[in-house]
Symmetry: C2
Subunit: 491 residues, 2 copies
């Protein structure tokens, strides 16, 4: 019996969702573009049973996937739990068996298995679509394959046995020119290992290359970037140890004395060709894009000054510092000709903190002009009085397109009681960067419901084209992806 009344999980807007739902022909305000044929998939976490400990990280909640299937001017919605090994075990036991975030030593003895930490994955981070398959990912386990129509979980996927890492990080990159997917697994050979395996998977879904490298220190390589020549591996600050796991702590703590690193590996190179650049304290969670110009790699990324996650606290006992948990759009130049192991960094929009971002997937690995992200536009109103319980102190109220060439920002204000989750880019037209739609989910605290916004990516300033109204609150999304009709076997 699920009793959340005594736990630290949210209430009000953030209360556990706990249901699977289907909506055919959703309510829509405005008119959906008739050329939208495909689906927006989003993955996040939801506690099925309350966490065992109040110290646990929200990132440890059970994987939950939603889809908005657009076709013929209508949209259908579905959501389902991701039936991981762990989820099935807990459903059988009718209670939470697994303990703190990526710490198997805190698990119930009936399932405790530190030698196979990937059995603990909740697969709650990101959907990815490649070679006709839809996967849900989390960096501590293998991908789970998901049926794109029913959202039923089909089981883990190891690429016909060719994926040798125990883990698969949540942000593989797909080369729009070759169709290849470049992906990595860190802690690849087991809990706390410094092994990182990097794979190139061809457009048919077969593993083509494997490179095995070591990290300077064991840390999370959450995201990565690719250029047409290089693979970029950023990380920094988060540390773990056998001791902290033995103490029952969550996997990561923050060590402000640790340098950040960005690895650059030629796509046709081997471990010996890897070069690590070294930088100051940085929390490197996500990237926008990268490209190679001669012997320089240019990386655009919304890196944080320091630790973003309060639930991965500093290991020196100091309090989490929200003032340093701010991300800016950074342009990082890695000069492969340089003798120095440092990099050049420029903040492109120093006055504005931004959040999770995307580029047009057709320019991934290539020089790109536009970055898309959400942010909190302080010039816009927030009607907290009209908002229901659980509304936050501030909201990400706007989506924006940042023009690298001009520094110009065009933005869309979602509403005075709205908070935006990560957007996705829907490419349209003949391949010109930026032609397409932005789709993303907004929380509406006044109506205690979620709404999907569809906007013209070239006309964000004109407001949305349509808004899909859900009759309930959606769970907290981590990442999402758009899949065109031709990319998956949709019914």
């Amino acid at each position: 019996m699920a009793d959340f009344s005594k736990t630290a999980t949210g209430r009000g807007y953030n209360a556990p969702m706990r249901f699977e739902a289907d909506i055919d022909d959703c309510e829509v305000v405005g008119k959906l573009p008739s050329d939208l044929d495909g689906a927006f998939f989003r993955v996040g976490g939801e506690w099925y049973y309350p966490p065992l400990s109040p110290d646990d990280a929200p990132l440890n909640s059970d994987g939950f996937i939603s889809s908005f299937r657009f076709k013929s001017g209508k949209v259908d919605f579905h959501n389902r739990w991701i039936h991981t090994h762990r989820f099935e075990e807990q459903r059988k036991a009718r209670r939470q068996l697994y303990g703190n975030y990526r710490n198997p030593y805190t698990d119930d003895p009936s399932v405790r298995d530190p030698l196979h930490p990937n059995l603990r994955t909740v697969s709650n981070t990101a959907p990815v679509v490649h070679a006709g398959k839809l996967f849900s990912l989390k960096e501590d386990g293998l991908p789970y394959q998901i049926d794109p129509n029913t959202l039923a979980t089909k089981g883990t996927w190891d690429f016909q046995g060719k994926w040798k890492s125990q883990t698969f990080a949540a942000h593989p990159k797909i080369d729009p020119l070759t169709g290849e997917m470049i992906a990595l697994g860190y802690e690849a050979t087991g809990l706390l290992s410094d092994d990182v395996f990097i794979y190139t998977i061809d457009k048919s879904g077969s593993v083509k290359r494997e490179v095995r490298i070591k990290q300077p220190y064991v840390s999370l390589i959450h995201d990565m970037a690719i250029t047409h020549k290089h693979i970029i591996l950023p990380f920094g600050g988060y540390v773990t140890s056998k001791e902290r796991l033995a103490e029952g702590k969550v996997h990561w703590g923050w060590d402000q004395t640790k340098p950040s690193y960005i690895g650059v590996l030629p796509r046709d190179g081997d471990a010996k060709d890897l070069r690590w650049f070294k930088g100051p304290e940085r929390c490197m969670m996500h990237v926008f894009n990268a490209h190679t110009e001669g012997n320089k790699v240019i990386l655009y990324a919304p890196f944080y000054d320091s630790n973003f996650f309060p639930f991965f606290p500093p290991i020196d006992g100091s309090p989490w510092n929200p003032a340093k948990a701010r991300a800016f759009i950074r342009k990082i130049t890695l000069d492969l000709d340089s003798k120095s192991d440092g990099w050049q960094e420029e903040i492109l929009w120093p006055t504005q903190v931004v959040d999770l971002g995307k580029v047009d997937p057709r320019v991934v690995s290539l020089q790109s002009r536009y970055l898309y992200t959400s942010y909190s536009d302080a010039s816009k109103p927030y009607d907290r009085d009209a908002s229901g319980p659980g509304a936050p102190a501030r909201t990400n109220n706007s989506y924006m397109r940042f023009d690298i060439a001009t520094g110009k920002v065009e933005s869309l204000f979602a509403g005075p009681t709205h908070n935006l989750q990560e957007l996705s880019f829907v490419p349209r037209g003949r391949g010109e960067e930026g032609v397409g739609y932005i789709v993303g989910v907004a929380a509406n605290y006044a109506e205690m419901r979620s709404e999907l916004i569809v906007a013209d990516a070239q006309r964000l300033g004109e407001g949305e084209i349509a808004r899909v109204i859900l009759p309930f609150r959606l769970n907290s999304q981590v990442h999402g992806v758009w899949a065109d009709a031709k990319e998956l076997p949709f019914k």
Copy 2:
């Protein structure tokens, strides 16, 4: 595409629900009684597409059924649309095709069929369980059989061709001693007909008796009562006509000049044995119970002084009068020895308006002591400020047990932001009246969600035993029923 933005349907808490959901192992506060093995089914309406006219009655919305399946101290929730003929036709057309409440002349020409008005039924009024089957009912059509596990619609049911009425009213009564179900259909031979067919269906589900009668005037016989000797048929005030249907109006209007009637038919009698008693203006929607004492029939019913439904307006053009739309617990005595066609009426609790009520199903047809209903206890607080959009001006905040023998009221306050829907009685123990549980759904406007309350029917004053927390707003229930595990083929 469903666009509700321009319609008169509710928003906020009352916004269209539009989704089907499943929750295994619902969140529960408190501890569910381990002897609860069965399900609480509830039926109501939800617009799948917006109504064609703002004048339409909410009672014309599409049937929607929910279940709370209790077993082994846990509860699972499901809800589904009822796939009536009409629902399927509209889903195919992807728009609302059917017009105003029980007026086929307002339907789209593609489906208009005044000769078969029962094809228009939305089956949105009440679930009933008999002879191992679960049905959803509405008085303008045949029952739809529902799978008690999946809530899938199995089609209409006409009792092996023996049910000859085109309609089946939503409140058949089940005799706890014989297992018989007594049921009626009015407008039995077609739109506007004054034919009423009354059936006795034995405990195996076979039609045993049919009696065909005429009404004094065509009006809705929404509910009925049975005693161990008599069938009781109350109605009053609502009228219809070919003219009002031709004008495109909803089926019923209120005629304050019309008398109310209560028919008394011996259970073993024929049409010639029917006796109509006649009374003043009354809106006779629901009954609690009735019994026969010698040659007197005693009926307990929460009848209204006048028209309860604003959307069935007075035919004389006068405004709907909320002050007269109030129900009290009435004791009505029908003396079969009397030469007069009038009845005696006593209001048992004149200071308190009540709402939909129930008795312990083991005393239906017999002399009963306890009446259970919800009401608005003005001594309790209503925190409208803490409530979200769509919260009403006042709430039914309490369930109560009324003791006919002593006039004593014991009540349970659901909360300062709560509004109660109809309760159901769950019998327990060896058959003593009143031993069991009360279950019912509350709207919680603060959290914008619904909650199922489980209380000991003998200890309402001590508060609930447990509360099942749903993570969303439920649709507006009309009626509900408890089915014990042995009554239906539960998985």
